[in-house]
């Protein structure tokens, strides 16, 4: 699941997996080149970004910026 925090300066995407299983999200809908700026994993494994696809391990957080 995703939240987009937005203001004029610095829009960011905060992706949080609140479940105990991995999930993948496709952000191609945004039509932006994305950058994985921060990755946190409460269970140890960290999110990854491949193009517009974000892989979120169980209980992990990714902060994504548009380039």
């Amino acid at each position: 699941m995703f939240i987009r925090y937005d203001d004029v300066h610095e829009p960011v995407l905060l992706a949080m997996n609140l479940r105990d299983h991995d999930t993948e999200c496709d952000l191609s809908i945004l039509n932006e080149k994305l950058e994985l700026a921060e990755a946190l994993g409460a269970a140890g494994r960290l999110p990854t970004l491949n193009g517009s696809k974000v892989h979120l391990p169980a209980y992990s957080i990714a902060l994504i910026l548009g380039e």
């Binding site: 699941m1 995703f2 004029v8 960011v12 949080m16 609140l18 105990d20 921060e38 409460a42």
Partner: protein
């Protein structure tokens, strides 16, 4: 002459530069930034003073103990502290005040409090004072004098405010009423909604309001950065309009003294009522709909609610609250001194879920509040004393910083190691909190921006 000319040229150059800068970066004029956020991490560490750190080894946490732990608190990323009441009181929790302009001797002295303020301010940290205006202690001299006067009256006599001003400070009645307690050794009753030891103040009394203005001026004059208002829905029990009016009065009073004073209220109620209370112009009200075992965070983490509810409820709150007060600052929290602790919401071993639950609160908009001990996953639920146990600094049997547990607290087996151990474990709950707060600090938009859902991008 030459110097004057040079000065005029320099001023002209600076003005031209300012005009150019404002042309090239016009968006800086339009940014939505809540007035009380957008610098630092906007995270507040709630300290239950008597249980946090004991500097004089009498078993009770104190102000100098807090001072000695400011490196720890700031090192986690917090930029504000909220201390539960520090005023003289006969109870361990101090939510029944005997003197609003003094410090409870078990916590230290006024000089200690001033030193704590100075230490925090020198670090760029704000200090929020817990202010209990709904009621006093029955041992407060105001109540004692009112009670003594009423007891002195002959049967059937009508109390005269000119003889004792303090009878107008409370609500007395000659007849028993719902929410009223009998005044011992008299025919009188007084309003005391919480319990008989906490007589409700009559907040309509001009004399009480004068006292409140003096109290606010006293502490703001000392350098307090704001107030956490206790039990605001009880000022006038469940009379939202009346409560809103009182909070507007209080906020106006404080801002007239200190324009950037930050005020957050405890309104343990539903979202619509909280929205109505925001019409008072108060900066923040605790976001109870997200907190505790019945809130959105617990509902999502237990699987009883879909994960997207976290975002959708956040958006719903933002829309509702900002309509009531466009400058509002949300005050998310997950647990506090009245709720069971986070670790008790999960089965042993569900550490990742426990970490994630608090991260949800820490990544919400506004000023995010964290209750002491949650950063190490302390346990504590059931009776109130259990929720307010001694901060677990180390596993040394004779650690002088560790306080005695509150009287009446059950024995609680703590599930996670103390601060001293977690500090050195990169995967600890403590270091998780540090990482999430760092994220919040690095991207101020998390605290100040608007949230939205990117729909259809991913499943649960």
């Amino acid at each position: 002459m030459f110097t004057d000319r040079l000065r005029r040229i320099l001023i002209a150059v600076v003005l031209v530069l300012l005009v150019l800068i404002s042309r090239f970066f016009p968006q800086t004029q339009d940014v939505f930034v809540s007035s009380k956020t957008a610098s630092g991490s906007n995270t507040v560490y709630e300290i239950f003073v008597g249980s946090f750190c004991d500097s004089d080894h009498d078993g009770t946490g104190d102000l100098n103990g807090i001072r000695s732990k400011l490196d720890y608190i700031q090192g986690l990323g917090f930029d504000q502290i909220w201390l539960t009441p520090v005023h003289p009181s006969d109870t361990y929790h101090k939510y029944d005040v005997k003197d609003y302009c003094a410090i409870d001797p078990s916590f230290g002295t006024m000089a200690d409090y001033e030193a704590l303020l100075a230490d925090c301010h020198s670090r760029g940290m704000r200090v929020l004072m817990d202010l209990v205006l709904n009621h006093t202690s029955s041992a407060h001299p105001w109540f004692q004098q009112a009670a003594a006067y009423l007891r002195s009256l002959p049967a059937g006599a009508v109390p005269d405010e000119r003889e004792c001003r303090y009878i107008s400070y409370y609500r007395f009645s000659a007849e028993a009423q719902d929410g009223y307690a009998p005044l011992a050794d008299s025919q009188w009753y007084y309003e005391a909604r919480f319990w008989s030891g906490m007589p409700d103040l009559n907040l309509d009394s001009p004399l009480v309001r004068e006292e409140i203005e003096e109290i606010a001026a006293f502490w703001l004059g000392k350098g307090v950065d704001g107030f956490r208002l206790d039990a605001v829905t009880s000022y006038y029990t469940n009379e939202t309009e009346h409560n809103t009016e009182f909070m507007r009065y209080f906020c106006d009073t404080c801002r007239a003294i200190k324009s950037d004073c930050y005020i957050v209220g405890e309104a343990w109620t539903d979202r619509n009522t909280i929205a109505s209370l925001y019409e008072s112009g108060i900066d923040s009200l605790f976001d109870f709909p997200f907190a505790d075992t019945g809130g959105v965070i617990a509902g999502v983490m237990s699987g009883q609610r879909p994960a997207r509810d976290y975002v959708r409820e956040m958006i719903a709150s933002e829309e509702l609250f900002s309509r009531a007060n466009p400058d509002y600052t949300d005050a998310p929290f997950y647990t506090n001194h009245d709720t069971g602790r986070n670790a008790d919401h999960f089965q042993p071993g569900q550490t990742a879920a426990l970490k994630m639950a608090y991260a949800m609160s820490l990544l919400m908009r506004g000023n995010s509040f964290v209750y002491y001990g949650e950063e190490i996953g302390m346990n504590g639920s059931g009776r109130d004393e259990n929720k307010r146990g001694a901060m677990y600094w180390s596993n040394l049997a004779d650690d002088p910083d560790i306080c005695s547990p509150p009287a009446g607290m059950d024995y609680i087996q703590l599930q996670y190691p103390p601060v001293s151990v977690q500090m050195n474990d990169p995967d600890s709950i403590l270091n998780w909190f540090r990482s999430v707060i760092t994220l919040r600090s690095k991207y101020p938009v998390i605290a100040s921006g608007r949230s939205a859902e990117v729909e259809g991008a991913c499943s649960e």
